[in-house]
């Protein structure tokens, strides 16, 4: 199986617990988070999360479940086969 790396970029509310809500979506599906970066967007109620995961069987489900969270505004995914990195 080809090694696939996904980077998810999330626009989320800067609200307590949002990181737990997001992390639970991954944990419930046994998806390891390889890297995570969260930064508050200055002078706004928003934060941006960048999350990197490898070889997720149902990345579509993870994205849709993340988008369903009341504190998550949008999710975009970029995919890289690691052989090309």
């Amino acid at each position: 199986m080809q090694d696939i790396r996904y980077t998810l970029t999330l626009s989320v509310r800067d609200a307590p617990g949002v990181l737990v809500r997001v992390a639970q979506i991954f944990a419930r599906r046994s998806a390891n988070i390889n890297a995570i970066h969260v930064s508050h967007l200055p002078n706004s109620p928003w934060s941006q999360m960048k999350i990197t995961v490898h070889n997720i069987a149902r990345i579509d489900q993870i994205v849709l479940q993340l988008e369903k969270l009341v504190d998550v505004y949008a999710v975009t995914v970029s995919t890289f086969p690691t052989s090309r990195i």
Binding site: G17, V20, R21, P45, K68, L69, V70, D71, Y73
Partner: protein, 568 residues
């Protein structure tokens, strides 16, 4: 105004009629405000917080309005988790307010402190830990909005005691602040047209109606669409009531314990229109073989449910009512006489049936209840064999008349849910069909039922077993009755009398009609009808878990079955 009074005022603004709950230290300010605010909202004291959650859930499903629960911190809130999970799985709107330790003590393992915010996250649509008294009116508005819009679900609000007893410093009208809460969009017209085109070309179409049809209030529109298109309708367990099951086009429930003719229709159809069902694993069986050659369209308000289980030809993200309205405008009415005649032969060949010659069967009792209530009772069930037979034999005619824990399969749900339904619909007959196992999980709510004079009929299908577990052990585990024998059941008639309810025993087929008539004549208190049924009958038809529809077992097997591929 203090926070507790602000909570009551916000609930009044939402038109709340009942609060179901249980008191405790951290929630005392709110209980006090129930008196000092002079509110007309009726508070119903339950006997266990799980009961409150299920009563609120039954109330919500019967009334279409959100159910409201008020409990204390720690164990009080912990006890509602199963109720939240049940409501979450079945898209039921609940607003649960829990007390919490004072803010300065949170995180210090203080008395009755639990991190209920984190504990409940996976089983709610959204939750809050309120930090500022001034936020209470806004958060309650938001909670009701979230619970009831889009795909409904439970919302929990954790309120520290010093937040509820603190004073508001503003009178400003609350403004909801949910900038990231995106809802469904208008149905995609191209997809509506593709569904209509495929339907016109089909020879063997089937509509699969799920809970989404009921939640959207789209049952009348669905009936018009199905009739105009001469297309048979099968419903999921939670979809019962979305289409009148006595209609000639109704196939009844499909799936693991669906009717043989519904399952044959699924196996043979060339067009399947799924409205508001998530294609649960008990419907799909073997995903790779499910409706392999059919055109499948799926309509769901929850985008994460589209194509989750199987790939489909058209996945339409939409509210069921809106989608059906657009479909009605787009399709050209037609007839499928040959197909409906063909399905008629299956109805004749494989009818739902029972035989009382070996003792009193649950099916016959449910049939008698159906006849006595003329199919108009609100029926709640628990989980297990009685639930499947009730789904098969109590033909649901109207929305909101069938209340069961489908997704979560929560034993102990049926009886408290019936109380909630009776609160919502005081003038309608409400029947709880339960097993001897599940009833004992929440029977303490008999006190709640008696004090509130709820004339709920509790029909205990008493086989002295966890019947469905015993069935699986017989079929798949060499008949090893491990942990499924309910030896030690109480005398349910005496139990009823101890609580001040009425109790009736039915021990054979001759006693059914008289026993039920006696029960239905009682209108001022709950009635337990303990029915001693055959101990070891099994529910059929059955598609073994994970098996394709072609492996449906219609009659009891005479040879040993292979261990199933699927889970439950």
């Amino acid at each position: 105004m203090d926070g507790a009074t602000a909570i009551i005022k916000a609930l009044e603004k939402q038109g709340v009629e009942y609060i179901f709950g249980y008191s405790g230290g951290a929630v005392l300010p709110i209980f006090d405000a129930l008196i000092t605010s002079g509110t007309k909202i009726k508070f119903i004291l339950v006997r266990h917080e799980q009961g409150a959650a299920h009563i609120a859930d039954g109330y919500a499903r019967a009334s279409g309005k959100p159910g409201v629960v008020l409990v204390t911190s720690g164990p009080g809130a912990g006890n509602v988790v199963t109720g939240l999970m049940t409501a979450h799985m079945d898209s039921v709107p609940l607003v649960v307010i829990s007390g919490q330790q004072i803010r300065s003590m949170i995180g210090f393992d203080a008395f009755q402190e639990a991190d209920i915010f984190d504990i409940t996250m996976p089983v709610v649509k959204h939750n809050y830990l309120v930090k500022d008294t001034n936020d209470l009116p806004r958060i309650i508005d938001e909670a009701f909005h979230l619970a009831t819009t889009g795909r409904p679900g439970p919302v929990l609000i954790d309120v520290p005691k010093d937040v509820s007893s603190g004073l508001l410093t503003t009178n400003a009208t609350p403004k909801m602040d949910l900038p990231a809460y995106t809802q469904f969009r208008r149905p995609d017209q191209t997809k509506i047209h593709r569904i209509a085109e495929a339907w016109a070309k089909a020879e063997r179409p089937v509509i699969l109606a799920g809970h989404g049809v009921l939640i959207a209030g789209a049952a009348p529109a669905l009936a018009r669409l199905a009739t105009a298109m001469d297309t048979p309708v099968t419903t999921t367990l939670l979809g019962k009531g979305a289409f009148p099951e006595t209609d000639p086009l109704a196939l009844g429930m499909l799936g693991m314990h669906g009717t043989a003719y519904a399952n044959k229709a699924i196996e043979e159809c060339d067009f399947l229109l799924n409205i508001g069902s998530r294609f649960d694993d008990r419907i799909i069986g073997d995903a790779e073989q499910f409706c392999q050659d059919a055109f499948i369209a799926q309509i769901d308000i929850d985008a994460a449910k589209l194509e989750k289980m199987i790939p489909v030809d058209v996945a339409l993200h939409a509210d069921a009512a809106e989608a059906i309205t657009y479909l009605e405008k787009t399709v050209t009415p037609c007839t499928f006489t040959a197909w409906n005649t063909h399905l008629g032969t299956y109805r004749t060949k494989y009818p739902l049936h029972y035989d009382n010659s070996g003792g009193l069967t649950m099916q016959s009792v449910i049939d008698s209840v159906f006849n006595l209530t003329e199919g108009r009772a609100i029926v709640t069930t628990d989980v297990g064999q009685h639930q499947m037979w009730a789904a098969q034999f109590y033909k649901t005619g109207l929305p909101g008349h069938w209340i069961t824990s489908g997704g979560a399969g929560t034993m102990g749900y049926g009886f408290p849910a019936a109380l909630g339904a009776q609160f919502a619909k005081p003038d309608q007959p409400v029947v709880a069909i339960v097993g001897d196992g599940g009833f004992q999980m929440t029977l303490f709510e008999l006190a709640t039922a008696v004090i509130n004079k709820l004339p709920v009929k509790i029909i205990i299908m008493n086989n002295h077993y966890l019947g469905m577990i015993r069935q699986w052990q017989e079929l798949f585990f060499d008949n090893h009755e491990s942990g499924s024998d309910l030896e030690g059941n109480p005398d349910f008639v005496k139990l009823a009398e101890a609580y001040g309810a009425a109790g009736i025993n039915i021990t054979d087929a001759n006693g059914v009609e008289a026993g039920l008539k006696e029960a239905f004549a009682i209108t001022d208190r709950p009635v337990i009808i303990n029915v001693e049924v055959v101990k070891t009958h099994n529910v059929f038809p059955m598609i073994p878990p994970g098996a394709p529809y072609s492996e449906m077992i219609i009659e009891p097997p005479t040879t040993a079955l292979a261990k199933p591929k699927g889970s439950t």
